[in-house]
Amino acid sequence: MPAHKNNFPWMSYYGHYKFFEERMREHNKVKEVRHVNPSFYHIELKDGKVIKTFVCECYSFDVAEYIEVCQELGEVDAVVISSNWCGYSPGVKRYCMNRGVGVYDIRGFMAAINKRNYWEYLTEDEKEKFEENGWI
């Protein structure tokens, strides 16, 4: 695996997120993908909603990294961890969900934007984990 960059914005080794962009442009709920900076997008849905989306390849995304994102970019609506080698903690998923912010991998984000309250989307594994912890 090529190494990603370990400090903010935890950019992909290749310096782009073409795979993410392609998946977004193919999605039937997405009207437009606006590339604000190398790791930040405004995803406009067909219902007019705009999701401010930060994409990264942070090896293990947790609450401190989310706070760093907000310090650097201001508030975001969604965080997408782009690489299969990287992940996010259940803690940051819950912390962000409580603030109306979604945290996902690409597949999760694609599923989530089909929902009105996209930040509440949980995978089956996440549902189990949240139930185990008594969070839902």
Partner: protein
């Protein structure tokens, strides 16, 4: 707050590309996260080539990061006087390759 070292700098006797550091803080609450971010910035200023990851204790357990990355404990940071703790860790990191 605990500071660990992992990766090639700490595991290989020969070459290394960067110096990987992990900060583990107590909880997901905002204040411990902010302190961890401050410690990270200090480490990045003091150690050239450092890459610093931050995890709460529960996230570290979830990823099993310390065990899977064979991280070694470099020290504990006194949150009320973190500058002197960070100084000590910085000099220990430098000494790690000198020994």
């Amino acid at each position: 707050m605990k500071i660990y070292g992992f990766g090639s700098y700490f595991s290989s006797k020969t070459s290394y590309r960067d110096i990987d550091i992990l900060i583990v803080h107590e909880s997901d609450a905002c204040e411990p996260c902010m302190k961890a971010i401050e410690v990270k910035r200090n480490i990045l200023n003091e150690i050239e080539g450092a890459n610093v990851s931050i995890l709460s204790k529960s996230a570290e357990e979830y990823f099993n990061f310390v065990s899977t990355s064979h991280a070694i404990l470099l020290g504990t940071v006194d949150e009320n006087d973190f500058l002197s703790s960070v100084d000590k860790i910085v000099s220990d990191v430098a000494a790690f390759r000198a020994t």
